[in-house]
C-alpha cells in the first residue's frame, strides 16, 4: 500500500545542499510491521515524515493506496492525513491546555465528526488504553507512559490504516517503553500498518521487517523468523 520510488529529499543548510534521503525505493504492504533503524542523521525521521505527508520529497514519487500523493495540495494532503495516517511522536506533542480526553478528541473535531459519536469513540479509546480515570487530567498531570498512551489513542481515533511512530519510546524508561510497544503491536493484529523509527535495536528488533539506514540509503533488511 505504500510505494516509494527513487525518493530523495535534500535540505539547504546555509548555502549548502545536504541530502537526507538518496533515491529510496520502498514498498510496504497493508498490515506490515516495519521498523526503520539507523544512527541519528541517517534520514530515518525524514523518511517517516515523507510517508506521513508532513514533508515533501525533493524528487521521486510516493503512492499511497494506489494513488499518487506526491503532488497533492495542502487541503488534499490534510484529508489523507486525517483519514489514513496516525502519528505517535517521541515528544508526545500533546496540547498542554487540553485534557487527555480532549487531546484524543482533537482529530475527530478537526474532521467534523458529530459530538455524540465523538464522545462515544473517546470513551471507548480511554477504556481501551486504560485511561478512563485520567480522562480529565491535563498532560502535565500524567506520567510519561500515560502521555504516550494518550498520544496513541489520539493517533488511532480516526481508525488510520497507517500508524507512524517516531522514536515512540525515546522519552520513556525501559519498562514503560515495552508497555507502549505492546500497545502498538496490538494494532498490527488489527490490520494496521505500523512503521516505527528507532535507533534502539531492542525496539526495532521486534518488527517483522527491519530496515537499516545509513546516510539516506538502505543498507540492508532483516526479516524476523527468516
Amino acid at each position: 500500500m505504500i510505494e516509494l520510488s527513487q525518493v530523495s529529499r535534500s535540505f539547504m543548510v546555509g548555502d549548502q545542499q545536504v541530502a537526507a534521503l538518496r533515491g529510496i525505493d520502498l514498498s510496504i504492504a497493508a498490515g506490515d510491521y516495519v521498523s526503520i533503524m539507523g544512527p541519528s542523521g541517517s534520514g530515518k525521521s525524514t523518511l517517516l515524515n515523507l510517508i506521513g505527508l508532513l514533508d515533501r520529497p525533493t524528487s521521486g514519487t510516493y503512492r499511497l493506496d494506489d494513488g499518487n500523493v506526491t503532488d497533492l495540495d495542502d487541503e488534499q494532503q490534510a484529508k489523507v492525513r486525517s483519514n489514513k495516517i496516525g502519528f505517535v511522536f517521541q515528544a508526545f506533542h500533546l496540547v498542554p491546555r487540553l485534557t487527555a480526553a480532549m487531546n484524543i478528541e482533537l482529530p475527530l473535531i478537526l474532521a467534523g465528526i458529530p459530538p455524540a459519536e465523538r464522545k462515544e469513540r473517546v470513551m471507548q479509546l480511554l477504556e481501551n488504553y486504560g485511561l478512563a480515570d485520567r480522562a480529565d487530567h491535563r498532560p502535565d498531570q500524567l506520567s510519561g507512559g500515560q502521555r504516550q498512551r494518550v498520544a496513541i489513542a489520539r493517533a488511532t481515533s480516526m481508525h488510520p490504516a497507517v500508524l507512524l511512530a517516531d522514536e515512540p519510546t525515546g522519552n520513556l524508561d525501559q519498562a514503560t517503553g515495552k508497555e507502549v510497544m505492546n500497545l502498538l503491536e496490538q494494532l498490527v493484529a488489527q490490520q494496521v500498518t505500523l512503521i516505527v523509527v528507532t535507533h534502539d535495536p531492542a525496539i526495532g528488533g521486534r518488527a517483522a521487517r527491519q530496515l537499516h539506514m545509513v546516510d539516506g540509503q538502505f543498507i540492508g533488511e532483516t526479516r524476523r523468523g527468516t
Binding site: L54, D74, A78, R81, V95, P96, L110, A111, G112
Partner: protein, 402 residues
C-alpha cells in the same frame, strides 16, 4: 469542522493560557481606553470654548455709541464733544429692519442696594424682558422683567444669585422691597447662579427695566444694544440695516459701532480649528500606539504557537481550517478587549467629568469608532497573518520550531 467546535476550540485556547490572554486584552483595552479618554479630553476642551461663546447668545450683534476710527480724529473730538448717545427710540427703530428679530437695550450703572440694615454696592443693569432669552439666562425664582412698553419705568427688579444670598439669606425674597439709590424696587424674581460668563458675572447684578435705570442714573443714553438677527444668514444684513437706520436717525452721522459676534467668533475660529486638529492628532497618535501595542502582542503570541499549528496539521487540519481557528480566536480576543477598553475609557471620562464638572468631556463618536476599528483590525490582522504563514509551512517545519 463545525462552527460551534471552531468557537469552542478558539475559546479553549484563549482560556488555556490565561496570562497571555489577559495581557493581550490589557494591551488592547489600554489602547482603546486611551483613545477614548484623550479624545474625550480634547473634544471637551473644544466644546468648552464653543459653549462659552454660545452662552453669550446666538446670532448676536452689539451696537454701542461712538466710533473707533483709525483714520485720524473726527471733527467732534476736536471740539471736546462726546459721541451722540443712543436713545431708547433709536433702539426701537432697529426693529424696522426685516433682518432683526429682537433687541435688548442695556444701561449699566452702579448703585447702593439696601434691604433692612444690609447694604452693598451693586452693578445695576437696565434692560428689557427679551434679555432673558437673548442672553440665554435662566431664572431661579419668580419672573423676569415684564414685557410691554419699553418706556415704562416700573419699580421692579430681579436679583442676581449672590446679591439675593447676601441681602436675604434664607428669607423669602419674592415681593420684598429693596432700595436702590433713592428709589424703592419690588423684587419679582431671582436669577439662577451662572457664574462668570465671558468676564461678566451675572450673579452680582441687579436687573431693572431700562427706563427705570435711566431715571435712577439720570441719563437717557444706552450703554449697549444687543441685536439678535433672525438667522445666521441675516447677521450681515442686520449689521448693515442697523448702521443705516442709526445713520439716518443721527442726522447722517456714523457715530455708532456695530460689531458682530461672528467677528469675535472668527478670531476664535482659528483657535477652535487648531483644537479640533489637536483632538484629531491626539486620536491618531493614541490609535497608532494602540495598534502597534496590539500588533506586537499578537505577533509574539502567534509565533509561540507555531508548534501547535504544526501539530494541528499533522492531525489532519488543512491550512484553511487553521486560519479559521486563529481568525475566530482573534475576533473573540479583540472583541472582548475592545469592549473592555471602551468601558474602561468611559469610566475614565466619567471620572474626569466628576473632577472637572465644567469641562464637557465626552469622546466623539468618530474617535470611538476609529478606536474600535483599529483594535479589531490590528488584532485580527496581526494574528491571522502570522498564523497564515505558519499554516503554509510543511508540518514538520512547524513542529520542529520550539
Amino acid at each position: 469542522m463545525k462552527l460551534i467546535d471552531v468557537v469552542n476550540f478558539a475559546w479553549g485556547s484563549l482560556r488555556g493560557s490565561v496570562t497571555r490572554t489577559l495581557l493581550m486584552m490589557l494591551a488592547m483595552s489600554i489602547g482603546v481606553a486611551s483613545v477614548v479618554v484623550l479624545t474625550g479630553l480634547g473634544d471637551g476642551a473644544r466644546n468648552y470654548v464653543i459653549n462659552q461663546f454660545s452662552s453669550l447668545g446666538t446670532n448676536l450683534l452689539i451696537v454701542f455709541p461712538g466710533r473707533t476710527e483709525t483714520a485720524g480724529i473726527g471733527p467732534g473730538m476736536l471740539l471736546g464733544q462726546i459721541p451722540r448717545e443712543i436713545s431708547l427710540d433709536d433702539a426701537q427703530a432697529l426693529l424696522r429692519s426685516r433682518a432683526i428679530g429682537r433687541i435688548v437695550p442695556m444701561t449699566v450703572g452702579s448703585s447702593q442696594i439696601s434691604h433692612d440694615a444690609l447694604n452693598r454696592e451693586v452693578v445695576v443693569l437696565g434692560s428689557s424682558s427679551e434679555m432673558l432669552e437673548v442672553r440665554h439666562m435662566s431664572l431661579a425664582q419668580g419672573q423676569f422683567l415684564p414685557a410691554g412698553d419699553i418706556h415704562s419705568s416700573e419699580s421692579v427688579c430681579v436679583l442676581g444669585a449672590k446679591i439675593r444670598r447676601e441681602l436675604f439669606g434664607q428669607e423669602p425674597v419674592i415681593g420684598a422691597w429693596v432700595r436702590l439709590g433713592d428709589r424703592r424696587f419690588r423684587v419679582i424674581g431671582t436669577m439662577a447662579s451662572q457664574g462668570e460668563s465671558m468676564g461678566f458675572n451675572t450673579d452680582e447684578i441687579v436687573i431693572i427695566p431700562v427706563a427705570s435705570a435711566h431715571m435712577l442714573f439720570n441719563t437717557s443714553g444706552l450703554f449697549r444694544i444687543l441685536v439678535e438677527a433672525k438667522s445666521r444668514d441675516a447677521i450681515e444684513p442686520a449689521k448693515h440695516d442697523a448702521e443705516e437706520i442709526l445713520f439716518r436717525r443721527h442726522n447722517g452721522e456714523r457715530d455708532v459701532t456695530v460689531i458682530t459676534q461672528d467677528a469675535v467668533l472668527a478670531t476664535f475660529d482659528r483657535i477652535l480649528r487648531a483644537l479640533t486638529l489637536a483632538v484629531g492628532g491626539i486620536a491618531a497618535i493614541s490609535l497608532s500606539v494602540a495598534g502597534i501595542l496590539i500588533m506586537n502582542v499578537m505577533l509574539i503570541a502567534v509565533s509561540q504557537r507555531i508548534k501547535e499549528i504544526g501539530l494541528l496539521k499533522a492531525l489532519g487540519a488543512p491550512a484553511a481550517q487553521i486560519r479559521n481557528l486563529f481568525f475566530v480566536e482573534a475576533i473573540l480576543l479583540s472583541g472582548i478587549g475592545s469592549v473592555m477598553g471602551l468601558i474602561l475609557g468611559e469610566i475614565g471620562v466619567w471620572v474626569i467629568a466628576q473632577i472637572y464638572p465644567s469641562l464637557p468631556v465626552a469622546a466623539p463618536w468618530w474617535a470611538v469608532l476609529a478606536a474600535l476599528g483599529t483594535s479589531l483590525g490590528t488584532g485580527i490582522l496581526f494574528s491571522v497573518w502570522p498564523a497564515r504563514r505558519a499554516a503554509k509551512l510543511d508540518p514538520v517545519m512547524a513542529l520542529a520550531r520550539s
